[in-house]
Every structure is written in C-alpha cells, then in structure tokens.
C-alpha cells in the first residue's frame, strides 16, 4: 500500500528532519507515528502527500512513486485531517464535507447524497448540513473534518494530531468512534500523535521516531513487551509498562497451580471436610486422570445433603474454564462479566492446571499500584 524507501529530508540550512526512513505499511493498517516534537513524524507524513518534498529516496503508494504524480491530483486521492481542523468558515457543513468532490467536479446530486451518507456515519442529524462551522462544537467540527477526508472514499488517510486540540472527554469518544469507523471502512491510516495512550489505543502498528530516525516500529503489544531500547522505555513510561502487563500476561503466568479439588466418586462427607480444612466454599471436581468434570459448592450440598451420597450427584457440569495460554486481559473481562468468583484453568485435554480467583486478580492490581514489590524490597534492603 505505502512504502518508504531510504527516505531523507534535509532542509536547505543543513538540518535533517528525516534520515534513511524505511517502512512498509499494509492496506487497512492503522499506523501511528509518535515521538517527541522535532522527531520528524509530521515531516514524514507531509511527504506522503507532497506538502513537503522528499530530498532523497522514494515513497511508493500502491507501487507508484508519488514523485511521478501530479501533486494536486495526488492530494485529492488521499484524505487529510489536521489538528487545527481547518474547516472553511465561509462554507456550509455540506460544502465542507464534499469539498474534494467539488474539486473533482462531482454533480450536485452526487455531492448531496454523499454528504448525507457521511453525516449518518457519525450520527449527526441532517439539519447540520446547512449550518456553518462556527455553529458547531470543537468535537463536532473535527467529526466533519474526518468526514471531509472520507468524502471521495480515499483508501489512504493522513491525520496530523487530529484530536490533539480537543478536550479529553471529546477526544476519547472521537477516538473510539474513529477506530470503529476505520475498521468498518477498512482504510489505511497514517496518524501522527505525541500522545502515547492515543497511539496504543488506536494503532495496529506504532512507529516510534527520534531525531528523524525510526527507533522501533511494531504492534503496541510487542512494544510494551519488548521496548527496543531505553529511549522507548522512557518514552512509554514506567507506569505504562506495568499497566501494559495485563495486555501480554497469560493466564498461566498468574494462576494458582494447586486448586482445591475433589475426586469423582468421593463422598460428600469427605468433600465437606476438605472445604472446612481449606476454607473454601466450592470444590473443582476432577476424575482420576485430573480431567475437569465440574464443580460443587456448599450451597448445593446444603440443600441436597439428604438425597445424595457422592459428589458426582450434586456437581454442576456446566463449568466455564480458560486455557493457560489465553491472555489475561480477556480472562479478566470474562470473569468480571460472568460475575464468577473463580475460573479453572485447563489444557487442551481438559486436564486441570490451576485456578484464577478474584484474590489472584486483586494481587495483580496490588502489583500494578505498588510496582512488583522489588522497589520496596530494595529500599528495605538498603536501609538494613
């Protein structure tokens, strides 16, 4: 889709903004360029639609060198959204949305239809079509700014800190809306930002730049898990690295590996004494091969104590379990949603491997807040 080959940008006074940039971006990818100011991220983006000329190297869009295309035509074939929004104050919302259509000499009917269609995408009523930009709030204006970029349905959209000037709440909702929209429409997005949270939230691929060079280009998960160097680590921030943990931690890493169980065929009496000894209110039931069969809890036993003798009679077989390889973030979500107190962890053959309880999760939260405890230990050790 988009390819940077040894791209350099050197200004006439000798400062170089971009040095030997090589990057390949696939169709439908959401790519965030991020870095401290002056790192060349905006320059890189603006070279794609030739607002800034390349000094050396080449940029290919769909395997065609952008230098061989007319700059004006090229820009019309890409969407462009900027931080200052830049709606034409003297044009109505409708005229603003279909501005590129006007440049391409679309018929009036086609433009009207397209404007209505697009406005629906962001759930704004049609009355807005005849309003002027100053009658809209900042968030609404930038929604129109995004729609304007989508007007002629370009496959590639360039965005220069589009949500940077909005208040945090509006920014959040626009980010979500936009991410959804991008998935739906399958657009390739080049998104420049200096907000790491934004990049991690939106991007399929994050390109971290410094002094005109790419430091690391990878998925958000991979960057959180393996920051390329100290700069990236620092840029991410310690908090985010810890917060990032649940993203990549697997259930296997945090589970309790010796859950309290009862064997099939065990009597209720022995089950109850196990519960009392271990201070638990339910037991996982496994067969002799340690294959999970179900669970039994104290309430069921209380009600049916007289009717049954062995755990098999009372156990609930519809048990929700997860695999040890599944990501913790999904599991947490499931536990919370189901309101379950615990989730057994099994392998592919349903052998019981461990258990994740709410207490396990509480420990994890504790670690997130207090670090992994090493810091504290170090201090204590130093004091001693």
């Amino acid at each position: 889709m988009l390819q940077f080959n040894h791209v350099f940008k050197t200004y006439s006074d000798g400062t170089s903004a971009v040095k030997d940039l090589n990057l390949k971006i696939n169709k439908g990818e959401f790519v965030c360029f991020i870095g401290p100011s002056g790192c060349g991220k905006t320059t890189t983006m603006k070279m794609v639609n030739r607002l800034i000329d390349i000094t050396e190297g080449s940029i290919l869009v769909d395997d065609k060198d952008i230098k061989d295309q007319d700059a004006v035509e090229l820009r019309r074939s890409m969407g462009y959204v900027i931080q200052q929004i830049g709606l034409m104050p003297h044009m109505t919302i409708k005229e603003n949305i279909v501005l590129v259509g006007t440049l391409l000499k679309w018929s009036k009917e086609r433009k009207d239809e397209r404007a209505r269609e697009l406005l629906k995408l962001v759930n704004m009523p049609e009355e807005y079509l005849d309003k002027y930009p100053h009658e809209l709030s900042g968030g609404q204006q930038q929604r129109i700014g995004v729609l304007r970029a989508l007007a002629v349905n370009p496959p590639l959209i360039l965005m220069d800190e589009p949500f940077g000037a909005l208040d945090p709440i509006t920014r959040d909702s626009l980010q979500e809306e936009f991410k959804k929209l991008q998935k739906e429409l399958n657009k390739t997005i080049i998104f420049v930002t200096h907000d790491m949270d934004e990049a991690l939230k939106l991007a399929d691929k994050v390109v971290i730049m410094r002094d005109g060079e790419v430091v690391q280009a990878d998925t958000p998960e991979e960057i959180l898990r393996h920051p390329a160097n100290e700069f990236v680590e620092e840029f991410l921030g310690r908090d985010r690295l810890i917060q990032g943990k649940p993203d990549v931690t697997t259930v296997g890493q945090i589970m309790e590996s010796s859950p309290v169980t009862a064997q099939t065929g065990a009597t209720l009496k022995s089950a109850i004494s196990t519960m009392r000894d271990r201070h638990v209110d339910s037991l996982l039931v496994v067969d002799s091969n340690n294959v999970l069969q179900g669970y039994i809890d104290i309430e069921a036993m209380n009600l049916n104590y007289k009717k049954a003798n062995i755990v098999d009679d009372l156990m609930e077989t519809d048990v929700f379990s997860v695999s040890g390889e599944s990501l913790l973030r999904d599991t947490v979500h499931k536990i919370l949603r189901r309101g379950a107190a615990y989730v057994p962890v099994v392998d592919e053959a349903y052998h019981l491997e461990g258990i994740v309880t709410r207490a396990t999760l509480a420990n994890l939260v504790y670690d997130t807040i207090w670090g992994d405890g090493k810091e504290l230990e170090e201090k204590v050790a130093a004091a001693e």
């Binding site: 639609n49 607002l51 004006v72 035509e73 090229l74 820009r75 019309r76 074939s77 462009y80 900027i82 931080q83 200052q84 929004i85 830049g86 709606l87 034409m88 104050p89 003297h90 044009m91 109505t92 501005l99 590129v100 440049l103 002027y132 930009p133 100053h134 009658e135 700014g145 304007r148 970029a149 360039l158």
Partner: protein, 214 residues
C-alpha cells in the same frame, strides 16, 4: 440660493458627475492592480514589506507635486488626473489585501492545500473570500480619500468639483467654494455607504454570523 442654482445648476450636475467618475476610475484601476498584487505579495512576505513601505513613501509625496510631475509625462486633462489619483488609491488597497490574505487562518489554507486545491482554487475559493472584509475596508478608505483628492484634478484641467472650489478661491466667492465642497462631501458619504452595502452583500454567509458571534 435659487439664483445660484439657476446660474450654476447645470454646471453643478456636470462637475459632480465628472468628479464622480474620475474618482471611480482611479479606484477601479487601483483595485485591478492592487488586489492581484497584494495576493502575489502574500506569497513572498520578505519582498512584500519592502514594497509596501516603498509605496508608502510614494504616498507621502504631496498630491500637488504628483500632479505636476505627471504633466510632462502624460500632459493635462482627465487621464493624467485619473493616473495620479490611481497612485494614491494603491497603498490602502494593496496593504489591506496583503494583510487580509496573509492573516487568513493558516489551518484552513493548509487543509485546502492538503485536500488538493490548486493555487488558483486556493486564492479564489478560500483566500479572497476569507479576506474580503479586510480588502473591502481598504477599498472604502481609499475611495473616500480619492473623492477628496479628486478636487485637485481641476489644477491640471481634469475638471470635477475642484473647478468650483478654485474659481471660488480666485474670485473670492464663498458660495462657489461651498458648491464644490458640499457635493464632494455628499459624494464621499454615499460612496462609503454603498461600498459598505456591497461589502455585506459579498461577505460570505458563514463569515457574517461568526463576526456577529465574536
């Protein structure tokens, strides 16, 4: 009073008309030259400041002197008068066009460019409409000045209401001086009002509201 009109009425109408069209012609010439020049200058801001201060210096040459300079070059009559006045109309229009276009919201201009507006489209569809109120203010200012200065056209045989004023001065007849001054003043007021009307007609809908809101 009636006597004066009986004697000079016809002449008064003719002179007022002359006065009007000398000023109008100079103003139109000024617009035709200064607006495009102002837009061009906004593309080369370094040169612009120098050129505008140069034109500013021209402006300080006394108008009588300019008229005198023009006699050897273009002779006397209406055309030289119009040319001289045209020089005076340049500065306000040029400066306002330059500032108006320069101060158009850069975000808007960048968005327009980034979406694929050619230079022409950028000027015609964005920069001129958006700077129109400022440009019109320059045109109004320069028109009112021109109507005042046009009285000097009489010196080089350009005609206009200046004829009355100089006759009045030479013959020591205050009524003639007033007959030149009052219509010129009325003319200036009318011109200013009609240009204001034209300005609000031309100002794009969305801009009007935002000015009111601001």
């Amino acid at each position: 009073m009636m006597e004066f009109f009986a004697e000079h009425g016809n002449e008064l109408v003719i002179k007022t008309w002359e006065h009007f069209y000398i000023s109008l012609a100079a103003m139109l010439l000024g617009v035709i030259v200064a607006v495009p020049l102002g837009v061009l200058l906004s593309r080369v801001p370094k040169l612009a400041d120098r050129l505008i201060s140069f034109v500013g210096i021209l402006q300080t040459i006394p108008s009588l002197a300019i008229l005198a300079f023009f006699i050897p070059i273009v002779g006397i009559g209406k055309i030289p008068a119009i040319l001289a006045l045209f020089f005076y109309s340049l500065l306000p229009i040029l400066r306002n066009t330059y500032i108006g276009v320069r101060d158009v919201d850069q975000g808007v201009v960048e968005a327009g460019k980034g979406m694929g507006m050619s230079n022409w489209q950028s000027v015609l569809k964005m920069e001129l409409p958006l700077s129109l109120p400022v440009i019109m203010a320059g045109i109004r200012l320069s028109t009112v000045y021109l109507i005042g200065w046009a009285a000097l056209a009489a010196f080089i045989g350009g005609g206009g209401l200046g004829d009355f004023i100089f006759d009045g001065l030479n013959l020591y007849q205050p009524s003639l001086i007033l007959a030149g001054t009052i219509p010129a003043t009325i003319l200036a007021v009318i011109a200013d009002r009609s240009l204001a009307l034209l300005e609000s007609k031309l100002t794009p809908e969305g801009l009007k509201d935002s000015y009111e809101a601001a």
